[in-house]
């Protein structure tokens, strides 16, 4: 085999394989988005364990809050058009997101702000204040989940 035919064969191989691994395909974005969301939920659940008094790791709250805040900064690019639940049953993201992008952006900013505040409050170490701010964070979560996420079926 000469070099040209090797290159040609390699080209064919790439062409054949590429669609299955297409970068940023809607389903891949949906899966990635769900992993980011689950990580936010996991950190929130961990803080709730501290607030409920189930565990004594109050010193960890700041780290969890920082993680939530960092993840909240990623959300902006995780909702490309065509990743709604009308197109894919794998997601519960409602088409209303793309009809009301301005409102949706504002709701996402809400999470960024409330998680930033939670970092500050966590540094203070006052458990009652942490609990109250976690509730504010929850309201920010609900600010998107209520209007823009379908219920579990």
């Amino acid at each position: 085999m000469n070099k040209i035919s090797i290159a040609f064969a390699a080209g064919l191989l790439v062409a054949a394989v590429t669609p299955a691994f297409a970068v940023d395909e809607p389903l891949n974005v949906i899966k990635y988005r769900q992993n980011v969301m689950k990580s936010i939920g996991a950190h929130t659940g961990a803080i709730a364990g501290v607030v409920k008094g189930e565990v004594s790791f109050a010193g960890d709250v700041e780290a969890h809050a920082r993680s939530i805040n960092a993840m909240s900064m990623l959300l902006g690019h995780l909702f490309p058009k065509g990743t709604d639940n009308a197109a894919f049953q794998e997601t519960r993201a409602l088409p209303a997101i793309w009809e009301e992008m301005g409102k949706f952006d504002a709701a996402m900013k809400g999470l960024q702000q409330e998680s930033a505040k939670l970092i500050d409050v966590a540094q203070g170490g006052d458990m009652a204040a942490i609990g109250a701010q976690l509730e504010n964070l929850g309201k920010a979560c609900g600010g998107c989940h209520k209007p823009y996420r379908a219920e579990k079926q």
Binding site: G41, G45, L134, G138, H145, K146, R149, E151
Partner: protein, 308 residues
């Protein structure tokens, strides 16, 4: 249309039962009406107590049309059911369009017996099947609270119901079959916390109205009490809240339940969306910690049921 056959079947059942039940079903309204409840030492105290009754009973969720920026308690929210679309009424104390002319006895009759001041039957979309258990004290306090709210002038929108459901007369039959008026009776063999939880879950909170599956006539299926349904309000799935380990909330700790009812956070850190978030925001988040604990105690003691 698929629903038509069922409608006729239901009508046929209803009519055939009507003859037999008509004689025994309608109870003289006055005989069942409550005595004037004790309104308390001062009106202010009754209003304050009424606020917690109001939150536990979750009145706001149905009687405020939040989706369309409706005024608080002025009604108009659409409730889509298999029997048609109901529009909730105005329960502000506006004298012309709300309940401003209602006496405390009128409110008691509505809650305890499902009857309007004029003696008409209410559709059970209004959960008097649960509220019938309310104590007279709670009804009196709720009345005081409602009358202290700002009146809003908003005319009630008529329900949009297909035949035969628009015949209110059939409701007498339905009530004869599926409704029995009666105050909540605490179980003397149980702790006060358990009984308080039972009252909050079964009566004020009317949790079963969504979380219990319904039969073809819209009646609750008591053998599957609080076990969830695939066909809840607006055709949505409603979760099983019995302590079944797999299908229900058997793995939730008491603090998982109380924290969820206070904040909306699930034990896994997800945050409630959908109808439950309204129940939490307008209702259970306002309760005392002791009441949320009572709810958790009662729910965790229910018989675990699989499904839906």
């Amino acid at each position: 249309m698929a629903g038509t056959g069922r409608c006729f079947a239901i009508l046929a059942v209803a009519v055939s039962l009507a003859a037999g039940l008509w004689a025994i079903s309608p109870r003289p309204a006055a005989a069942q009406a409550s005595a004037q409840p004790d309104v308390g030492l001062t009106a202010g105290e009754a209003v304050a107590r009424g606020a917690s009754v109001f939150h536990a009973a979750g009145c706001t969720a149905c009687h405020t049309d939040k989706k369309n920026n409706g005024q608080p308690l002025a009604g108009g929210r659409a409730l889509v059911t298999p029997f048609g679309t109901f529009y909730t009424p105005n329960i502000t104390p506006d004298r012309d369009t709300g309940i401003g002319n209602w006496s405390v006895v009128d409110l008691a009759r509505a809650l305890h017996e499902g009857l309007s001041p004029a003696g008409e039957n209410y559709y059970p979309a209004f959960p008097y099947t649960s509220y019938t258990g309310m104590t007279d004290q709670d009804v009196g306090d709720l009345w005081a609270y409602l009358m202290a709210q700002p009146p809003v002038s908003k005319v009630n929108r008529p329900h949009e119901l297909p035949l035969p459901f628009r015949f209110r007369a059939l409701l007498g039959v339905w009530k004869g079959l599926f409704f029995s008026a009666g105050r909540f009776a605490p179980d003397p063999g149980r702790a006060a916390t358990w009984n308080r939880g039972a009252y909050l879950v079964e009566v004020l909170g009317h949790c079963g109205e969504c979380h219990t599956p319904r039969g073809v006539l819209g009646e609750m299926e008591w053998d599957k009490r609080l076990a969830g349904t695939a066909k809840g309000p607006d055709g949505k799935k409603v979760p099983n809240i019995t302590p079944h380990p797999k299908d229900g909330i058997g793995k939730w700790t008491e603090s998982d339940i109380t924290y969820f009812l206070k904040t909306g956070f699930y034990p896994d850190g997800d945050f409630a969306g959908g109808a439950m978030v309204e129940v939490i925001e307008d209702g259970t988040s306002f309760l005392d910690d002791s009441d949320r604990s009572a709810i958790a105690t009662y729910l965790r003691d229910l018989p675990p049921i699989a499904g839906p």
